[in-house]
């Protein structure tokens, strides 16, 4: 080998060659067996034979004891079995239970395949590694390799060897014994003179390689133990980065630069079909029209042939809440309006009640009015409810007194707007949509209309057959 030659040259004082024993060469295995028996019978135990294939009977002829390898392999197999069973019991029965069809955890018949495989795996590797260990392999330096004749030991020649460390070993007597067994040739085995220590450049090279090999591991360990502001370094993006836009991001695809797209006008969410129904809104959403000016949505209301600007907010049809109660122009006549800033939304409110004006609905409206509305607006609708009176007596300037329902502008409001006020609130008044159902709200509107009518009624409003029951029949009193 190159290295050996190099070493021999570099080694200034090679050790004197030392004899290790005698080696006899034979033509075939039978001569070897006979010779081996002779050597054994002569009492030598530090003997060995080198053959190209396992010669049957040589163990007996040389007195070699059976190997303990099978027991080592048995132990390894049992270790593999126990490892597999413990692993499956702990991983699936204790540490991370998979609940599947109510099947039992831990050791089940389903554990058999993996247990079997690991038993084999452990045994097989122990067989090979145990064989190498028991044979002292790998061993690259061996005195027998010093003789070129020995190369045929793996080809077609059979060798018998008596080692010098045998307690009966005597150089001359062993030579004499081996000469008497019809050997092809007889050679003394000389110790391998190659220095046992590795040359320095190999050691340095190996050290450098090992150190270089530690660098990635050191970097990884350092990264695990330290903190960094930089984002993670991704070898594979997995699903962390996808060609898609997330909320609040910008885009160049749309003119307005937003990734979150607004709903198309008229879009109705699932379960909110009532948002399209005037019965629930108080106005007709189909008459609300939108256009876009400079990327900003503008809501326009179309009633008949006139158009009014409603608001500049979200295109979802939501009239702005919180418009001050005072200064609200009369609705229902948006065409006349030149809406000032903060103007009430001029929605296309319903002019006609969507419920029937019968006694049942009046009674329902009266009951609900007295529960929800009378506290502020008063039983007669003059804005003189108990809460209102109490607030007025406290004289706090944060209180906005409730409107009288008999004001002219409220009397002129379409029924839809009153419904809308109950639903959405107005000024200090909160929304009652969550407390009062649409049907009840319309009933309240009906009752409010009745209250207003009662303040402006004349005798013609009373049915003819009941006029007689009025206690004060003077016609001049009524108006």
């Amino acid at each position: 080998m190159n290295n050996n030659e190099h070493n021999v040259k570099s080694n200034k004082e090679p050790r004197p060659p030392k004899a290790c024993g005698w080696m006899a060469e034979f033509e075939n295995e039978h001569d070897l067996l006979h010779a081996a028996e002779k050597v054994r019978d002569a009492g030598y135990t530090k003997t060995d034979a080198f053959t190209p294939f396992p010669v049957h009977g040589i163990d007996h002829a040389l007195g070699i004891k059976p190997t303990i390898l099978p027991f080592i392999v048995l132990c390894a197999g049992l270790t593999g079995l126990c490892t597999a069973l413990l692993m499956q019991w702990w991983m699936n029965g204790v540490d991370y239970k998979y609940i599947i069809s109510g099947k039992p955890f831990g050791i089940t018949p389903a554990s058999i395949p993996v247990s079997f495989e690991l038993t084999i795996l452990f045994s097989a590797f122990t067989s090979v590694l145990g064989m190498l260990a028991l044979n002292g392999l790998p061993k690259f330096s061996n005195p027998v390799f010093t003789n070129a004749k020995f190369d045929r030991a793996t080809n077609d020649r059979f060798f018998l060897y008596v080692d010098a460390t045998d307690k009966y070993y005597n150089r001359e007597s062993v030579k004499e014994l081996l000469s008497s067994v019809h050997a092809n040739s007889l050679d003394e085995v000389i110790e391998d003179s190659t220095p046992s220590e590795l040359p320095r450049w190999i050691l340095l090279g190996a050290l450098l390689i090992v150190l270089a090999g530690l660098i990635p591991a050191a970097i990884v360990l350092n990264m695990r133990a330290s903190f960094s502001d930089l984002p993670r370094w991704h070898v594979f993006f997995d699903m962390d980065f996808q060609p898609k836009k997330k909320p609040q991001q910008t885009t160049t695809i749309f003119k307005d630069g937003r990734t979150m797209r607004p709903q198309v006008p008229g879009t109705i969410s699932r379960g909110q079909l009532d948002q399209q129904d005037p019965f629930y809104l108080g106005y007709d959403p189909l008459k609300v029209k939108t256009t876009s000016i400079d990327g900003e949505k503008q809501i326009y209301v179309s009633t008949g042939d006139s158009v009014a600007n409603v608001s500049a907010i979200s295109p979802a049809v939501q009239p702005p809440a919180g418009t001050p109660a005072s200064g609200t122009p009369a609705s229902g006549t948006p065409a006349s309006g030149t809406p000032a800033s903060g103007a009430t939304p001029a929605l296309p409110f319903l002019e006609k009640l969507p419920i029937e004006a019968n006694e049942e609905n009046i009674k329902l409206g009266k009951a609900k009015y007295e529960i929800y509305c009378s506290a502020c607006h008063g039983y007669s609708g003059f804005g003189d409810g108990l809460v209102s009176k109490r607030a007025a007596s406290l004289a706090q300037d944060t209180w906005t007194p409730p409107s009288s329902l008999h004001l002219d502008r409220i009397q002129k409001q379409p029924v839809g707007q009153i419904f809308h006020t109950i639903s959405k609130g107005q000024g200090k008044m909160a929304s009652y949509a969550s407390s009062i159902t649409p049907q009840e709200r319309w009933s309240i509107v009906l009752y409010v209309r009745a209250l207003q009518r009662s303040r402006n009624a004349n005798i013609e409003d009373v049915p003819v057959d009941q006029r007689g029951s009025l206690t004060a029949p003077a016609p001049s009193q009524t108006k």
Partner: protein
């Protein structure tokens, strides 16, 4: 010596004759230990024939294409394959089972035939084991890249993950597969390697160049042929054979569980484990014949891999092919006998449905073609057996295709039926895996001992001196010292 051993006349000695009481020689041409060494080592020592270079060029190009396609697959995703609802287990799994099946012959020859004292195995076991390793490598690639995110394939193993905080599901046949194929691949590898150690020492000792001597010296771990070493070595080999024999049978059993443990008609049957194992041995032996017939001709190994070896392998192909045919028949019988309408439909659909062509290719190649081996002329004609072995390879690929695709494409719900079509990538990647297989096998021929030299010599010895051993046994029975009896003989 070389000139003697290479002069081969197939009709000179007919060692395919099996006469009771007479033992036909395992190897022909009056071989000696020297000539056997010479014949095997020459394969690696002489310059390779031109055909080797041509084949190696083609194979390595194909293998490179395969590796590039794998790279593209990882970049682009498994969508480049034809796998689509309802057939998500398509060619990747078909190819996996195909290659794993082929990978059964090697260890079967080295382990089970060893335990049965089938000495003829010695001439073919090394090449068959090498073929096994390479086939399992090809097999392992497919599930590895079929998992989608191939760089996370190590998640299959039970390791304490800091990302997942969970363990694999040990009740899943797919996990059993990881363990079975993993154990089989690693055990086959060490079995193969351990068997090669003495022969690598032979290569080392014949090496002329110091570099070659150094490399083979490292590989053979300093093997000397010491009898004390041989004793432990033989024990270890026996143990490995005893361990590998049930392992061989378990691997394809577990592979069949991937199908049989599911509830799909056509998969959910108890016949699958033996049926798959028989099919695996069948396909494996066919692949051994496919490889050895050209190999023995190219490297002039006809005296070592004789017609008797091929004859024996063809007998096994005939037996396992008939077993597979029996399994096909049994499946139909059970479909009828169970009176299960889904099962009946599945099998009628296999034979007469949209994939009828695949089914009948399978039956022709797997059941009918090996029946030719009833004739000795077919069993001992190298060209004929090579053609049949190719047919068997094709048939066994179609068997896995039929099982996988027909059952998946038409299951319980007709509304979710479909027809699977592979893409160009499916075809190229299957073809590419043959490139990997052939590249590795050609390199094996070029650099490693293709025949177990020491085992062949051991068998030569035993047959030459059978009388010697008989005398020893007789002497022992008569109470004499056996070694004296041996001397007398």
């Amino acid at each position: 010596m070389a000139s003697i051993s290479s002069s081969y006349n197939p009709r000179e000695i007919d060692n395919t004759e099996d006469m009771p009481g007479r033992r036909a020689p395992l190897i022909t041409g009056n071989q000696t230990y020297t000539s056997v060494t010479e014949m095997v080592c020459r394969v690696a020592e002489d310059p390779q024939p031109r055909l080797w270079w041509i084949l190696f060029g083609m194979a390595s190009l194909t293998a490179s294409m395969f590796l590039m396609l794998i790279g593209f697959l990882i970049y682009k995703g498994v969508g480049i394959w034809g796998n689509s609802s309802p057939v998500f287990w398509a060619w990747p799994i078909v190819n996996f089972v195909f290659w794993v099946g082929i990978g059964h012959a090697g260890t079967l020859i080295s382990a089970i035939l060893f335990l049965f004292r089938q000495n003829w195995r010695t001439s073919i076991n090394r090449a068959a084991e090498a073929m096994t390793i390479f086939a399992v490598i090809c097999a392992g690639i497919y599930p590895g890249i079929h998992v989608g995110r191939a760089w996370l394939a190590f998640w299959l193993l039970p390791y304490p993950s800091l990302n997942l905080w969970m363990w694999p599901q040990f009740r899943s046949p797919l996990l059993w597969d990881v363990f079975a194929v993993g154990t089989y691949a690693s055990t086959s590898l060490v079995f193969w390697y351990m068997g090669m150690i003495p022969d690598l020492a032979t290569y080392r000792d014949r090496s002329k160049s110091p570099f070659r001597r150094f490399i083979y010296g490292l590989l053979c771990l300093g093997w000397t042929g010491s009898s004390r070493h041989w004793l432990v070595y033989e024990k270890a080999y026996t143990l490995l054979a005893a361990l590998a024999a049930p392992l061989v049978l378990s691997v394809h059993t577990v592979v069949s569980f991937d199908f049989a443990v599911s509830q799909l008609p056509g998969w959910h049957t108890t016949i699958f484990p033996p049926y798959f194992v028989a099919g695996a041995i069948f396909s494996g032996f066919a692949m051994v014949v496919t490889l050895l017939v050209p190999m023995r001709a190219i490297y002039k190994l006809e005296n070592l891999i004789t017609l008797r070896h091929l004859d024996n392998m063809n007998k096994i192909i005939l037996a396992t092919g008939s077993l597979v045919g029996l399994a096909y028949g049994t499946e139909f019988f059970m479909a009828w006998y169970s009176q299960n309408q889904y099962e009946s439909f599945t099998f009628i659909n296999r034979a007469f449905g949209p994939y009828w062509w695949a089914y009948w290719i399978m039956v022709t190649c797997n059941v009918i073609s090996p029946q030719l081996f009833w004739f000795k002329w077919m069993r001992t004609n190298v060209v004929a057996m090579w053609i049949v072995s190719i047919f068997v390879n094709i048939g066994m690929w179609f068997e896995r295709f039929v099982i996988t695709v027909t059952s998946l494409s038409r299951d319980f719900l007709p509304s979710s039926w479909g027809y699977y079509r592979p893409t160009l990538f499916d075809g190229l990647m299957f073809f590419g895996s043959f490139g990997v297989f052939m590249t590795l096998f050609l390199l094996f021929c070029r650099y490693l001992p293709t025949i177990a030299i020491s085992e062949v010599k051991g068998v030569m010895s035993a047959s030459d001196h059978a009388g010697h051993l008989e005398a020893e046994v007789l002497a022992e029975l008569q109470g004499k010292d056996p070694k004296h009896a041996g001397h007398a003989h």
